[in-house]
Symmetry: C2
Subunit: 339 residues, 2 copies
Amino acid sequence: MAFEVTNDSTMKTSRIQDLATAILSALALTASIAHAADPLPSWNDGKAKQAITAFVEKVTKEGSPEFVPAPERIAVFDNDGTLWSEQPIYVQLRFALDRVKALAPQHPEWKAKPPFSKLLSTPKEEHVAVSEQELMEVVMAAHAGITTEEFEQVVKDWIATAKHPTTGKLYTEMVYQPMLELLAYLRANGFKTFIVSGGGIEFMRPWAEKVYGIPPEQVIGSSGKLKFELRDGKPVLMKLPEIDFIDDQAGKPVGIQQHIGRRPIAAFGNSDGDLQMLQWTAAGPGPRFCLYVHHTDGVREWAYDRDSHIGKLDQGLDEATTKGWTVVSMKDDWNRIHP
Amino acid sequence: MAFEVTNDSTMKTSRIQDLATAILSALALTASIAHAADPLPSWNDGKAKQAITAFVEKVTKEGSPEFVPAPERIAVFDNDGTLWSEQPIYVQLRFALDRVKALAPQHPEWKAKPPFSKLLSTPKEEHVAVSEQELMEVVMAAHAGITTEEFEQVVKDWIATAKHPTTGKLYTEMVYQPMLELLAYLRANGFKTFIVSGGGIEFMRPWAEKVYGIPPEQVIGSSGKLKFELRDGKPVLMKLPEIDFIDDQAGKPVGIQQHIGRRPIAAFGNSDGDLQMLQWTAAGPGPRFCLYVHHTDGVREWAYDRDSHIGKLDQGLDEATTKGWTVVSMKDDWNRIHP
């Protein structure tokens, strides 16, 4: 390098231009080095992987008719079943179970009041049949009367030690390695990655940055109402026992519009809860990418679709097939499931 | 430049390291060039400007006890009166007036129904006394039954030609040049800049990126309810005539938590509507920066505070003074107001 490092503010414009050219060349070279290594090593060569890389190359190629400027490269990901395992029960349902049990002594009335009564009388490992609405009710009630910061700490403490009932791994180790690679690959290509989940927004934010590299402002989820208060002169945000928004099914495009205000060009899901988000993404102008994760691996993960207790998956799978969206078979397309 | 551009994936690690060092040196040099020029030329030297640069230097200095990692450098800005002029009436009120008048022939019932009747019987240039709640009602009703994309186009068309009643400038030319410089300066120092306004989120997003460099996902505002629908098989988001959220006063910290999920370290406002946002920002741990714009320039802009019809400004100004927040006197601290 022949540059002299100087603070001389009178440095000639021509030298600044030389410098800019040098930086751009260096960055282009770095990009070509990154390109040489496979950014998706846990993906087997096949249609799904090819479709992903073809889409990314297409929208990032300047001058091409399908080029998409970086600020418009918005990619949205469902969480449960798309970024991490959702079997045998949603992680957040397990969190709510633990939380309700921990708080039960302070709430004797829960013993007779569904859905609390149902949760309290069910052993941990068993499947509990509650609707998403019921789950949110439980979550809201169990967390009322504490501040957002106190709740963040409760989640951090729980997620640091809570283990999956059958694998014994931490839940944060039950994420999908191929999807971690995909998130990083998209970001390296100028995409902004968002989570758009039916799960609680404040349940995901405390760990999403560390686990997925997704900062809190890019996590969209279901939420409860909040209230600003001065408590002993100190401003706090109290969590109220009231649902504010359910970010699932037809709620997902609404959540996307409220938080992002721009239609995504790529969407990733695995259930009927993601169908409207995929439809909304697919219907925009220009290049679009929709991917549906099909849980086909009964050995390394779980094999389920139409007759699963984990929500409904029929319509999403059918529409993905009909519309030619990219369907990932976990068994065939992924050579590794968890990190 | 002595680098050979190559796609050879077997390139030796030492050469990649050389390259990385070269890029870092070049970037450091670029940073020092940027530093040499005054990033805030429209700010007069004085307490306010010094407070801003001292804060930014402090939180960006690695190794210092007050260093703040880039992802946590969140800065929130009120819009009306903080980033652009709000006199003689809020721009969005003017937009609503024009919109209600344009739609009135289709709504004969509005003639007798307040607040529509009040708006329809008031000449444009005059001040219309409506509460924020009334304004939102009008905005919601006037925009019901159209999609988010149709509304975006209505706003784009309006903002492209609508002019300020006394200066004759486009509204987008009524932004504050010193604040544009401040936004750019903060972003150049790794801050993520957000608008947090009582105004409509979908009224600001169509032009905020072009005017302020703030993308739609970093605009927080008041909002109406949305509904996902398939219209002739095509997914749309319909705007419903129902208020979803008022992002003002105690609503601002709530909006910040819902959208960002992280407490800002810097906040900028000009009225009592911004007070809770400033309090929430100020009360966090570590270095904090709160700035209050005081409208003192009756010649180049408008001089108003306590007895203004533009909301209330008493409590904010008092608290800013008491708590030692940075108070900007537009007359004394800014050598230019509009671009």
